[in-house]
């Protein structure tokens, strides 16, 4: 898959995304938009497009960084407890400050996400039997454990309903005034670009990267901070998007090898394309209703993930 084709797909899907919805707006209307249509464009359709692109790109990059750092193809924010820890963080912020602002929620949730991911990485060090499949299993179990703690407090404070709203991603609620936080991901993506080469080196292990003159701890920490922040931001604005960080980097590495610097733009682009596609599918399949993105990505993502697993097995 050439980057050019990917880019063309990206453009087509982006434009399509703008014109799918209950309110009919065709590309021809663009030049003489009524007041009404203009409003819908600006308040709902454009923000939705922007957040889809950013979420898709940044979640995929997070997955890629985590896979590089842990040297395991099946690690991602969903399979390392990052998402679950962030969710616990949001809950804690809601309980501690009854009227937490988005900013406060984000900071606390990011700290939790960071702690959770650190804990997972520590766990990895401790596991003797580093089977490629065993590690995501531990990660998912670890996530479940964090969830059980979240459920406990949510149940006590009657917040189960709010918890489940973060459980499945939904872009239909994205509109002006509620999504701007996602822009925080843009500088994070840029930082990942700057550090790309270093992540690749760090992925070769502490000893090797130290002997290559790299400050291993520092680079790993930067990577984890990027992952924690991006995950939290996406979680707060659209909710959990399962598997995205897992499958997109894997697909890219199948046809493109494993050089992080080379793969970053591909991964970001494919992530956005994949998410746009899932979103558009969700919007037209049961039109005029909408299937939340959590479900479409969950279904398509699980199937692709299973395929990746089987494929790996065949070549083992």
């Amino acid at each position: 898959m050439k980057k050019r084709y990917l880019f063309i797909a990206f453009l087509i899907l982006s434009i399509t995304s703008l014109f799918v919805g209950v309110k009919d707006i065709t590309p021809l209307d663009l030049f003489h938009l009524s007041e009404d249509q203009l409003q819908i464009m600006m308040i709902s359709r454009l923000p939705r497009l922007v957040s889809l692109i950013i979420a898709g790109a940044s979640m995929s990059i997070c997955g890629l960084i985590m896979q590089q750092l842990s040297r395991n193809k099946f690690v991602s924010p969903t399979t390392a407890g990052t998402m679950d820890a962030a969710r616990l963080g949001i809950l804690v912020s809601l309980i501690l400050f009854s009227s937490a602002t988005m900013m406060e929620q984000m900071i606390i949730a990011s700290l939790f996400a960071l702690a959770g991911t650190f804990l997972f990485m520590k766990l990895l060090d401790r596991i003797k039997f580093k089977d490629a499949i065993f590690i995501p299993l531990v990660g998912l179990m670890f996530g479940n454990i964090i969830n059980s703690i979240t459920t406990f407090f949510a149940f006590k404070h009657d917040l189960i309903q709010s918890i489940s709203s973060w459980l499945h991603g939904d872009f239909s609620m994205v509109m002006t005034g509620r999504y701007e936080m996602i822009y925080i991901s843009i500088p994070l993506v840029i930082i990942s670009y700057l550090f790309a080469q270093k992540f690749t080196v760090a992925g070769m292990g502490e000893e090797l990267s130290t002997s290559l003159g790299l400050n291993y701890r520092f680079v790993v920490n930067i990577g984890l901070v990027i992952v924690a922040l991006s995950t939290t931001v996406v979680l707060l604005t659209v909710g959990t998007i399962p598997f995205l960080g897992l499958i997109v980097p894997n697909i890219v590495s199948i046809y493109h090898g494993d050089n992080l610097k080379k793969n970053l733009s591909h991964t970001a682009l494919l992530g956005a394309v994949f998410l746009l596609l899932c979103d558009i599918l969700g919007r037209i399949l049961i039109y005029p209703y909408e299937i939340p993105i959590g479900l479409t990505v969950g279904v398509i993502g699980s199937v692709i993930f299973l395929y990746l697993l089987m494929r790996r097995k065949a070549y083992a």
Binding site: F74, L119, K122, L123, R126, I127, K128, F129, D131, I133, F134, P136, L137, V138, L140, M141, F142, N144, I145, I146, S148, I149, T151, F152, F155, K156, I160, S164, L167, H168, P242, F243, I291, P292, G294, L295, G298, V299, S302, F305, L306, L309, K313, A316
Partner: protein, 316 residues
């Protein structure tokens, strides 16, 4: 301390807790209260046994102490079945009201699912048990996506019914179902008896087990089916308690410090009975129903487990 003394201590605690649970705080209607409580106790003993027993076996097969059998997606499947029944027929429909039918459907589908999963994966050459688990886990996520989608669509009042099913409960246990479960578990245990001698050897790992003459695939397949049946029965009877097994089996390992499975199995069964009755006493008499037992068990199980992970210990 000798292991039999330890076992005696556990048994005495269990008996004392049962007596406290049955005969304290009775109020004026003891002829009504005591039989009611006795049913609860029976349900607890039954599910506690099934869960503890199957978790020990499962962890031995997988050579790992961080995994629980529900990881193959049985919990999520149960929730999907319940959500679907309510989604399709409404909460007042016969299937939900008619507990026996619901029980049969749930157990049947869960065992069927596990059977298909095993069948499919054991057919493949060079199977790796972790591979099986990961596929199960991904299927679980898929089920979860579907259920949370349905949960969003259904009426909020009906959601309440679904939510009740998300947490295990020992209230309103149907005596007929209890009897059926008892007979089923008894039959499964009798079938299992001829495999018990293999457990110690299996804990040495696949290669050593084969070297020592265990027909590995034959034995493991059958043990996994036993595990799936036990978990399905207990889940359909009271609901999912994901971390009970994890908690009690690890406590048993710490307490007995042995690899002998006869001690481990009976020890974990007693510990799970203690945990459930003790937990129920706390929930009903201390918190007075402000929270659900399974939530507390999962919480304690989760926290205890993170403690185990953090402690300097490399037994996984």
């Amino acid at each position: 301390m000798h292991k039999n003394i330890k076992m005696g201590i556990l048994a005495s605690i269990a008996v004392i807790l049962i007596i406290i649970f049955l005969f304290t705080d009775m109020g004026n209607y003891w002829e009504y209260v005591v039989p009611n409580r006795a049913i609860k106790i029976l349900a607890i003993i039954l599910t506690g046994t099934a869960i503890a027993f199957s978790t020990v076996v499962f962890q031995t097969i997988t050579n790992n102490r961080i995994l629980t059998p529900s990881i193959i997606g049985l919990d999520s499947l149960y929730m999907l079945i319940q959500t679907f029944l309510i989604f399709a027929f409404g909460s007042s429909s016969l299937t939900v009201m008619n507990k026996s039918l619901n029980f049969m459907i749930s157990v049947g589908l869960m065992v069927l699912f596990a059977g298909l999963l095993y069948r499919f994966l054991f057919k493949r050459e060079g199977q790796n048990i972790y591979f099986l688990l990961l596929v199960g886990l991904v299927m679980g996520t898929l089920f979860q996506s579907f259920s949370s989608f349905m949960q969003v669509i259904i009426d909020p009042n009906e959601f309440q019914v679904v939510q009740d099913r998300m947490f295990a409960s020992f209230n309103n246990i149907n005596t007929d179902l209890l009897l059926v479960s008892f007979v089923l578990i008894l039959l499964v245990s009798l079938y299992f008896a001829r495999f018990i001698k293999y457990l110690n050897v299996l804990s040495l790992g696949r290669e050593q087990a084969i070297n020592l003459g265990v027909d590995y695939n034959y034995v493991v397949k059958r043990l996994l089916i036993v595990v799936a049946i036990l978990i399905s029965i207990s889940t359909a009877l009271v609901g999912p308690i994901t971390f009970l097994g994890l908690l009690v089996v690890n406590v048993a390992y710490q307490f007995f410090k042995t690899y002998q499975h006869t001690h481990l199995i009976f020890g974990s069964i007693l510990i799970s009975i203690i945990a459930l009755i003790g937990g129920l006493l706390i929930v009903e008499r201390v918190f007075t129903f402000s929270t659900t037992l399974s939530v507390i068990i999962n919480f304690i199980g989760g926290v205890y487990f993170i403690y185990l992970l953090l402690k300097e210990n490399n037994s996984w």
